[in-house]
Structures are given as C-alpha cells and as structure tokens.
C-alpha cells in the first residue's frame, strides 16, 4: 500500500518530469568545446544550419578549456569534443577515449603587448626569440595558467625556448582568454592569445600584435567522437556534418565583428 500523504502528488510530478527529461536526452548532443570558439560566435553561426538539417538533434555546447573539455569527455559526460590542443587530443585517443578524430579548421595564436611597451623591440615573426627577449627584459607577461589549449601551447613555446618562466613578471591568472587579454591590457603586459578572441576584443584593448605568422603559432581545431558517448549516433552525425563541404563553407564565412577578417580557416578537406 502506498501511504497517502500530501507529499506524494509533488513526488509524482517530480518523477514524471524526471522521466520526461530522461526520454528527451538521447536527442541532445553534448559538445564539449572551448571558450574561444564560443566567444567568437562560431556556434551561433553554424548550429542553425545543423539543426535545420537534423531536426531531431539538438547540440548543447559546454564551453570550457581544451584540457577540461577532453576530461569531461573521458568521463563520458560529453558526446563530442571540438578542441585545439593536439598533444592532449593525441593522448586522449591513445587512451582509447575517442572513436575518431578529424581536423576541422585552424586559426593562429598571436603574442600581444602594449603599444610602445618595454619589449616592443622583441617583435617579429618568430615566437621563440620574442619570448626569450621578453623573459630577459622581465617584461610583465600574463599567462592563462589553466588547462586550456592556449596554455598548453604557451608552455610548449617556453620549453622550446629553454626557459622556465618564474618571477614577479610572470603571472598565472587561471581565467578565460577574454579575461586574460583584458588583464594584460589593464596591466600593460604581454600575453599569448588566439587571434579570434583578440580581434573580437581589439577595440576595447590597449594591446597590439607583437608576434604573428610563426608556424609554431598555428592553432588547429579537431572534432572527436567520444567512445563512451551517451548519444553516439548524434555525435557521429555532428562530426560528419562539421567536416562536410557545406559546413566548411559556413565556417570560412564567419568574419570578426570589427574587421570582418575571417576568424577560422576550414581545413577538413585539405591535404
């Protein structure tokens, strides 16, 4: 016998709504991605087309750092990943967490700093000498200091330069790309950031590009279908779609708000 109490109608309603949630879940694709793609407006630009083509599916984007995106996925809490941290992605695949990994698009990182800053003479097209020069001058440098793809790249560049940045001039912020660029602008400091985020904030920042064009600064994005995905069918549909010619064209069309320059170069098809 179920005891009659005033609580049970509430309980019934709660259970009912919980069941509804569970039933609807398979149609939702959880995509773990990075703040840079979210902040640049990429998803607002391309997802309507995906939803129009696949009316039964819905993409929910979780925008975090690349390292965190992969970690969420390895726990089975995401169906697909769109990230930009090649080394971390390779170890993710080697650990057997991913079913497939495909190139999607790229843009690049830039080293930025205050106009006429102390390390203005360090500029150019080579990242390693520029970082060496910044560290020798002990010019203030603000690092992401988190598990983002940007921080992974920064660490790699420092290690290629044979430098272990330490000291009052080197600050590890632990915040997102936008916040770190704002902080660099406020503190008249140098930083490594992705060009998309930099361009989208450029008119609010007192920062100029110090280094660009180095092949070491290339920023490749890949899509991964997660092996333990709750919605593997949806994840596969999304990964297949984002490398399709139509989606690639859409990606190439997205220009930055200010300058209109393309934010990403699609390269799923390039060899």
């Amino acid at each position: 016998m179920i005891p009659r109490s005033p609580v049970s109608p509430f309980l019934a309603t709660a259970l009912l709504s919980l069941t509804t949630l569970c039933v609807q879940q398979p149609d939702e694709i959880v995509l773990a991605s990075t703040t840079s793609t979210q902040d640049s407006g990429l998803f607002d630009h391309i997802l309507p087309a995906f939803h129009a083509e696949h009316p039964g599916l819905r993409v929910r984007v979780i925008a975090v750092g690349s390292g965190e995106a992969l970690r969420i996925a390895s726990r089975g809490d995401a169906d697909a990943v769109l990230s930009h941290s090649p080394e971390a992605e390779i170890s993710f695949m080697e650990a057997g967490h991913g079913e497939s990994r495909r190139r999607v698009m790229y843009n690049d990182f830039v080293i930025v700093g205050p106009p006429d800053g102390p390390a203005a003479s360090c500029g150019g097209t080579d990242a390693i000498p520029a970082l060496t020069c910044i560290s020798e001058l002990e010019a203030p440098f603000i690092s992401r200091g988190d598990d983002s793809g940007t921080y992974a790249r920064e660490r790699r560049l420092w290690s290629l330069a044979g430098i272990d940045p330490e000291g009052d001039w080197y600050l590890r912020s632990g915040q997102g790309m936008g916040e770190v660029l704002m902080m660099a602008s406020e503190k008249a400091a140098y930083s490594l950031g992705d060009r998309g985020t930099y361009l989208s904030l450029a008119d609010r920042l007192d920062l100029e590009i110090l280094v660009e064009g180095d092949p070491l600064l290339r920023n490749q994005y890949s899509v991964i279908v997660v092996r333990r995905a709750a919605n593997r069918r949806g994840a596969k549909a999304f990964a297949g779609w984002i490398i399709s010619p139509a989606a690639q064209r859409l990606i190439g069309d997205l220009g930055s708000a200010g300058s209109g320059r393309p934010l990403f170069v699609p390269n799923a098809r390039a060899e």
């Binding site: 598990d147 600050l171 632990g174 902080m183």
Partner: protein, 237 residues
C-alpha cells in the same frame, strides 16, 4: 560515486600533509576577508549607530538602502569596482585592479552593510531610557553613547561573524577584480572554481572543506552569542 569518495579521501590527505599551495590560498582568503570586515566595522558601526539614534527626514530611505545592501549581488559590486579601478575608470591611476587591495575594496562594500544593518537593529533594541538615565546620572553624551553600544556588543560581534561569513564565501566580486592570479589574488573560492574546472577535484574538495569549517565556525560563534544570556551590569560599575 567513486570519484566523489576518492576526492574526499585525497582531500583529507592533502589537508593533513600541509600542502603549501592550499595553505597559502587559505591565508590569502583570511587576510582579504578579514581586512574587509575590519574596514566594514570602521564604516558600518558609526553609520548604523547614527541611523539607529538620529531622527531626520529621509531616514527611512537611508535605512531601506542599508538593508538593501545586505542583498547586494557580489558580481554587481565586482562590476562597479572593476569599472572604477580600470585604467580608463576614474580611479584607474591608483593601479589597484588585480591586486588584493581591489579585492578588499569590493568585499568592504559587501561587508559594511551587514555591520551597519545589524548595528542599527542592535542600537534600536536597547531601550532608549538607558541613555536618558545615564545622562541624568551625569554621563556625557559620548559616555552615554558608548554605554549604549556596550549594551549592543553581542549583536555587534554577530555582525562581524555574519559579514565575515558572507564575504569569505563570495566568489563573483573577488574573481572579477582580483583576477585569480596564482600566489597573489587567488583565494579559496576562486581556487575552487579553477581547480574544479581543471578536474583537480581533490584540491578543490580540500579547499571546500576548509571553507565549510570557516563558515561553520562563524555561524557557531553567532549561535553562541545569541544563546548567551545578556547579563546587565549595574550602571554605576
């Protein structure tokens, strides 16, 4: 469930081992919130006392404003302090943004209304005859006022604990104006956000446990004060 239990046991191990990263952050939290509440006392007690005793047109509005201050959203305070201290802002030349000074400023704004509101209530709860009696017995205005405040001291101690409990667990304002810089402006709450995002649950959990203990201590302190029987001493002591 595995991750949960594992993180907790690992967190306890971290706490026992005296991990320097953890304790440096805890120290910074206590320093920032402690100073903010101390400054809040210096500003809030005179304001609350004045509002509790003075009678002037517009007082109701002032009291309502102080009480609204109790529910100031930390992110909004963070936003205002950020814009004030930003390089293009009116106080930009101070160079305070992303320093502990900025964090103390924001938390002071959050803590002061607590102190003012509780002081106000406490001062009003003391029977006004007390002051009149003291004056009649020859006390000066200031002596009478101090006596009045002494009668309200339990509530004032509660104000400190409540204000401290509120600001030390606040994350919105300190993250915005402090920037969560490693070794400088990283406090318990901002570190928990970062470590959780990085998947370092044990570290986040250890900090969370410390924060809970601090919040519990503050509340236990308030409860003890509220339970304590106020013993009135004779006025001539």
């Amino acid at each position: 469930m595995d991750v949960f239990l594992q993180s907790i046991s690992e967190a306890v191990r971290l706490l026992i081992s005296g991990d320097p990263y953890l304790w440096q952050i805890v120290g910074r939290s206590l320093q920032v919130s402690g100073l903010a509440v101390l400054l809040g006392l210096l500003g809030g007690i005179p304001l609350g006392t004045w509002l509790g005793l003075a009678r002037f047109p517009g007082r109701d509005v002032a009291v309502a404003l102080v009480n609204t201050g109790l529910s100031l959203p930390p992110v909004v305070v963070g936003l205002f302090v950020y814009v004030l201290l930003s390089r293009q802002g009116p106080l930009g030349s101070l160079g305070w943004l992303y320093t502990t000074t900025a964090m103390i400023t924001a938390q002071f704004i959050l803590a002061a209304p607590y102190v003012a509101a509780i002081t106000l209530a406490a001062v009003q709860s003391v029977p006004p005859e007390l002051r009149l009696q003291a004056r009649a017995l020859g006390a000066s205005r200031w002596q009478a006022l101090l006596l009045h405040l002494r009668e309200a001291r339990l509530s004032l101690a509660a104000a400190v604990a409540a204000g401290f409990g509120a600001v030390i667990s606040e994350v919105g304002a300190v993250l915005m104006v402090g920037g969560n810089v490693h070794g400088e402006t990283r406090v318990i709450t901002t570190a928990i956000v970062l470590e959780t995002r990085r998947g370092r649950f044990a570290t986040a959990m250890a900090l969370g446990l410390i924060l809970l203990v601090i919040a519990f201590a503050a509340n236990a302190f308030i409860t003890r004060l509220q339970q304590a029987q106020p013993r009135r001493r004779p006025l001539t002591s």
